[in-house]
């Protein structure tokens, strides 16, 4: 299984009584493209942070790509995330004062395997994502939102992750750019056989995905014992 959750619960330390997540059982097969939708404040981002290992579940089993995140040390989780998981968010995906090349290189810096062909791979990825060479050396703050999101995909894919987590990545784009963005993302994911977890409140995107789930079906924090 690419993702497997068992009896997972999570509450933020500031409000330990209020469970944000309570998932009895949920899993995603390798290579699946899953669309999760739900209202804001429903625990979407919390779920993604648990899966990427930034947050740690209070109880239960969190397995990603066959590894138990809940049993790893902090240091190992950080490294696991760098090596195996790519993340794209709605905004703040890039360090604004670094150019595209440096942003991608920084992501490669934290991965365990140093790639000898990094420059070539970067070039190929950026070309596939339609970033002109002249735009690659500008601080990313000077790029358009659409360009920034595409550089963010390149940054997320540079370490050849098996799992890509996307949190409303297209919400800041207009209709035309959004469709182009999703199409590009799907083709890259299929080409590299990456499991995709796509979270959005915008149901109109769901037709791109093979599996569509409502977060409220998975997450039942208010259930009675």
């Amino acid at each position: 299984m690419a993702i497997h959750l068992q009896n997972v619960s999570f509450a933020y330390p500031k409000a330990p009584q209020k469970k944000v997540l309570d998932i009895q059982h949920w899993s995603v097969a390798p290579g699946e493209q899953v669309f999760i939708h739900g209202p804001s404040g429903g625990g979407k981002s919390t779920l993604l942070n648990l899966l990427s290992g930034i947050l740690q579940a209070d109880h239960g089993e969190v397995s990603v790509l066959g590894e138990r995140l809940d049993q790893m040390s902090n240091r190992r989780r950080d490294r696991f995330r760098a090596n195996h998981i790519g993340c794209v968010f709605q905004q703040f995906n890039l360090i604004p004062y670094l150019d595209a090349i440096d942003n991608i290189r920084l992501a490669a810096h934290f991965a365990a395997t140093k790639q000898a062909t990094l420059n070539q791979e970067m070039g190929e990825l950026l070309s596939a994502l339609g970033i002109a060479p002249s735009d690659r050396c500008k601080p990313t703050a000077q790029l358009s939102i659409g360009q920034q999101q595409r550089v963010a995909i390149a940054r997320a894919l540079i370490n050849k992750p098996q799992l890509l987590i996307a949190d409303e990545p297209s919400s800041s784009l207009d209709q035309h750019n959004r469709d182009a963005f999703i199409t590009l993302l799907m083709s890259l994911v299929k080409e590299h056989e990456i499991t995709l977890l796509f979270v959005s409140h915008d149901l109109s995107l769901s037709h791109h995905f093979g599996r569509v789930e409502a977060l409220s079906d998975i997450n039942t924090p208010d259930r009675m014992y």
């Binding site: 990427s52 947050l55 902090n74 360090i95 004062y97 992501a107 940054r155």
Partner: protein
Amino acid sequence: MFMRLACKSLLNRRGSVVLTVLALTVSLVVLLGVEHIRQQARDSFGNTVSGVDLIVGARTGSLNLLLYSVFHMGSPTNNISWDSYQKIAAGKHVAWAVPIALGDSYRGYRVMGSTPDYFTHFSFGGKRKLQFTSGKAFAEVLDVVLGSEVARKLNHKLGDQVVLAHGVASTSFSLHDDKPFNVVGILAPTGTPVDQTVHVSLQGIEAIHIDWQQGVKMPGNTVSTEQLAKMDLQPTNITAFMLGLNSKIATFRVQREINNYSREPLTAILPGVALSELWQMMATFEHTLRLISACILVSALLGLSAMLLASIREREHEIQLLRVIGAPPMFLFLLIELEALLISFAAIALGSSLLYMVLVVAGDLLASEFGLHISTNIGSESTAYIMLLMIFSTVIAAAIPSLKAYKNAQLK
């Protein structure tokens, strides 16, 4: 990549970074400058006299004797007799003896009567001998050798005539105007009281007082230059004398002998010891200066800390992003520390070059106006110590913002 990230991040916030660097630079310049000048002053102070083993005067405190014999400040408690001088100078351990007679002045500068030996035996600053920029030592009764500052300030050159005044007040109404002296030599600058001294022979001092009684000129009782040459101008009293010994080991024995000299109450001091005693008296002043400059540095470092702390707040997204791509919290801690160190290094580089330039530009002014010879070489042990201290304090000051970044990184 780590370095590149830190540099670019600083460049991105160059406004506040430049101001922080400037604040640190200014405080470093003050700290290094005070320390450098303090050391230089101490060195040149300690270098005022060297090569002299003992200074002997009438019974008094060691500081008083040092002040009037070497620094020509204050007044001698008493004179000592020429006989005692002769007896002690003839001692078997004594290599050389140079008598000093003080009490007259020339336009505010002290006049010192001595023998030509003074120019060969007196040294300053690590056994450097006195040098003449022009002319030579006095040979005739009415010859005078001027210290460099006296010659420069009063615009004197060889062959000029100077009239000495009785007493040491800068404006004296009783002048030795019947016996003007000829300038025969001008000394090179030394950075010591020698620069402000007018040197004449002991006979010269005797000669100008020969027709004086009870400190006033007796009218109608003048002696001509021709008569002077024939007279025996052996002084009966001198103010003090300097001794050079054959062996350093004998110094304390000779000192004890002089202090126990039965015919006249005398005091012998070791100039080096007395100089450091005198410097000790200025320790409070020294500490105050250092304390002030340390406070300036602390405030600049607090500014650095505040600037970094504010930057952490505006960089929350950046920190979160670095976490997402796999940066461990330690990376963020070190990143902020590195940024602080880069600022600190920039300030050190800028500060030392600035201080060097200031010393080069102001060096001549200090030397000519204050007789302070400050070396432009700021590389010393204590400078290195200050720089290390600054780097260390930077790490401490940056720990608060770094820890904040670390904490931010641990939890969203």
